[in-house]
């Protein structure tokens, strides 16, 4: 009788509650996918160095990414996910690889579907690797170092061109411009900052320019920051080259160009590769005399695209300059949105597959068809720009050009 007084034994209780818990758990796991189908937001990590030495570029990059997210959301979000909105999770890499990695860890824990950004090559190298541990798709915004995409990381994609492609275009275009003008330039002086970027450009050009009939008179390295360019400019003056090729970051580039003007050093051309200030509206606006005629091979938007011009107006209306960080990040977010749309899933593995098979078109960059091979967009290419009449014009490739090169300038 006493047994009947206990209708529910301890063992039975445990079994049923365990079952119940399992059912509840299964239910809760299933819940988000149900919710997502109804348009739950897709979390996107937006990672830039917004404090520290790179903060200007980082802030510009963040601006581009957030503008893209606003535009995508305003246009109805990701339609194949029931109009899901993109929800940015902003991160600050603090201008260091370690800072970037810490943010990737946070973003991963917060369940982002993808990360966009990084800016500097050193930061991108570290953050893409950290994201790879979680199979988290990562779209590099700038990071031109080619080692970023040569490590076989399945999660890493770069929409823009890498250093190798840019350097090759720079060299081919220089030869084309010089040949087109009747080969007025024969001698070259390279002025470069002494870290990986500047030294890399100098080494490559120093080796390749002689093959095309140029004589490199001297390659002058300088640290960042350099307070005074007078000695360098005096040396350039003594060498009297036809072409000066600077590979510097913004501040040093501006100081160099200004000092050259002060010292009345005007070569036949100033031609830069990824020049810090050469294709910067800020430089042109502030020092039109020093900037005039400078050519550059760099990231650039498609000047013939209405969408690009509309975005430029929008950015300038905010009182900001339309720098390459802005439109590259804008494009990278667009690439991710397109992949989400086609894949109809915010799942990381599916997004990686969708990015890898991307054929995204109709964007604002002067690129060929989008096709990723080992994470690198094969269509990506730089443009040659020249400062002409207080504006920056695209002079090459002809398909996207809105002006003809003016060379020699003196």
């Amino acid at each position: 009788m006493s047994d009947q007084k206990i209708p529910f034994s301890r063992r039975q209780f445990l079994t049923t509650t365990a079952l119940g818990a399992a059912t509840a758990a299964a239910g809760s796991i299933a819940m988000p996918s149900v919710l997502r189908a109804a348009g739950a937001p897709v979390k996107l990590g937006v990672l830039h160095p917004v404090t520290g030495a790179l903060s200007y570029s980082g802030t510009q990059g963040r601006l581009g990414a957030t503008l893209a997210i606003e535009d995508i959301n305003a246009a109805g979000g990701i339609k194949s996910l029931g109009g899901a909105k993109i929800e940015p999770m902003l991160g600050d890499a603090q201008s260091s690889p370690a800072g970037g990695v810490a943010e990737v860890e946070k973003m991963n824990s917060a369940g982002v579907s993808c990360v966009v950004g990084g800016y500097a090559s050193s930061i991108c190298l570290a953050t893409t690797q950290a994201a790879a541990r979680y199979d988290l798709p990562y779209v590099v915004d700038v990071g031109v170092s080619d080692s970023i995409i040569k490590r076989g990381l399945k999660n890493t994609f770069r929409f823009g061109p890498g250093f190798g492609v840019i350097a090759k275009s720079a060299l081919d275009n220089l030869v084309a411009i010089n040949d087109g003008a009747g080969k007025p330039a024969k001698t070259v002086v390279i002025v470069h900052e002494d870290s990986l970027f500047g030294s890399g450009v100098a080494k490559l050009l120093g080796a390749k320019l002689p093959e095309h009939g140029f004589k490199v008179l001297e390659s002058m390295a300088h640290p960042t920051p350099t307070r005074d360019f007078n000695t360098i400019v005096l040396k350039i003056k003594a060498q009297n080259p036809d072409l000066v090729i600077p590979a510097d970051y913004y501040n040093e580039y501006v100081l160099l160009a200004r000092t050259m003007l002060q010292q009345h050093v005007r070569p036949k051309g100033i031609y830069s590769v990824l020049g810090g200030a050469a294709s910067s509206y800020k430089f042109v606006k502030e020092f039109p005399a020093a900037a005039n005629g400078i050519m550059d091979c760099n990231h650039w938007f498609n000047p013939l695209s209405d969408k690009a011009q509309a975005l430029k107006k929008k950015v300038e209306a905010k009182g900001q300059f339309f720098t390459y960080e802005v439109y590259l990040n804008y494009s990278c977010v667009g690439l991710v949105a397109d992949a989400l749309e086609r894949g109809a899933s915010a799942d990381r593995a599916k997004l990686i597959a969708s990015l890898a098979s991307s054929t995204w078109s109709g964007h604002i960059m002067p690129y060929g068809p989008t096709k990723f091979v080992n994470g690198q967009n094969q269509g990506a290419a730089p443009c040659n720009t020249q400062v002409q009449g207080n504006d920056i014009k695209v002079i090459l490739p002809p398909k996207f050009a809105d002006a003809k090169p003016i060379f020699p300038i003196t």
Partner: protein, 290 residues
């Protein structure tokens, strides 16, 4: 490279650059000589003054050289207040505390500037920015010549203040014998603050001289401070003529070593001198033996 057509302009350029280094170092050496603290906030104060000069030109349209007459007194007051109400009280009489307080101030000032003005690099375009005087064999940029002349005026003024005014005598008394000066009725806290104010006014003037040909961003001042420390050691801690001569020497050494070793290695010249001075003549060129 040894031809006079490049050597003479290089030396001239070194002197012009060195003069501005000297002015930054003057402020630093004054503060060290009297307060015996190494002012880590010197670079941040230079940057703040550069921003002041930038905005004076940009928003009020005041030429940086004119603005110096407003910004220098304002920064004198700012420096005075910093020492009187922040650094002095926070240090509780311990020199090492002062060091940490100035380091903290540097971090605060720099980040406040970053917060308000972002990391954006700014420059001003004055009408004379690209004017230069043709010497036949080289061009000397007008803004740099103005800077050179102004540094000597400031150094002379400082020398007159230190030598011939009651404030100057009080400063020298405190620097030599703090306790004695206090017993003689000198308000030491006031003298400390005046000295810090003078040092800060020096960087404010340096900032106004730099802005027409240099750029401004929240870390722009740092580029000058490491060199200024070297000059202070070379010239002798606390010595006004030492800072002036030291600045010119460092300017010429930097310029010449950039010419012969390249810009990247040019900095080596400065620091070789720094080490050599510490080894051979630790009191500096014009410093009294400790």
């Amino acid at each position: 490279m040894l031809s006079p057509t490049i050597l003479i302009p290089t030396v001239l350029n070194g002197l012009l650059t060195g003069a501005v280094y000297a002015l930054v170092a003057l402020g630093l050496t004054l503060i060290y000589g009297v307060l015996h603290i190494i002012n880590f906030a010197h670079g941040a104060l230079l940057t703040a003054a550069m921003f002041a000069a930038y905005f004076a030109f940009h928003t009020l349209g005041i030429d940086p050289y004119i603005a110096a007459f407003i910004i220098a007194p304002v920064f004198f007051a700012f420096g005075y207040a910093l020492q009187r109400f922040v650094i002095g009280p926070a240090s509780h009489g311990e020199d090492r505390n002062m060091l940490l307080v100035t380091l903290g101030l540097a971090v605060i000032i720099e980040n406040a500037l970053l917060f308000w003005f972002r990391a954006d690099t700014r420059t001003i375009d004055v009408p004379y920015a690209f004017q230069s005087i043709d010497l036949g064999f080289t061009f000397l940029a007008v803004p740099r010549l103005v800077g050179f002349a102004a540094v000597f005026v400031v150094a002379l003024a400082l020398w007159l203040i230190m030598g011939f005014t009651d404030t100057g005598r009080a400063i020298r008394a405190v620097a030599k014998e703090k306790l004695g000066a206090e017993l003689a009725g000198i308000d030491v806290a006031h003298v400390y603050a005046v000295t810090f104010g003078l040092g800060t006014a020096c960087v404010a003037i340096a900032a106004c001289l730099l802005v027409p040909s240099y750029y401004v961003n929240p870390s722009a001042g740092n580029a000058f401070v490491l060199v200024a420390f070297t000059i202070v050691v070379l010239g002798g801690m606390g010595s006004v003529p030492g800072a002036l001569i030291g600045g010119l020497i460092i300017g010429v050494v930097e310029s010449l070593s950039s010419l012969f070793l390249g810009e990247s290695l040019g900095q080596i010249g400065i620091f070789l001198i720094f080490i050599a001075v510490l080894l051979v003549r630790p009191q500096g060129l014009f410093g009294a033996k400790a």
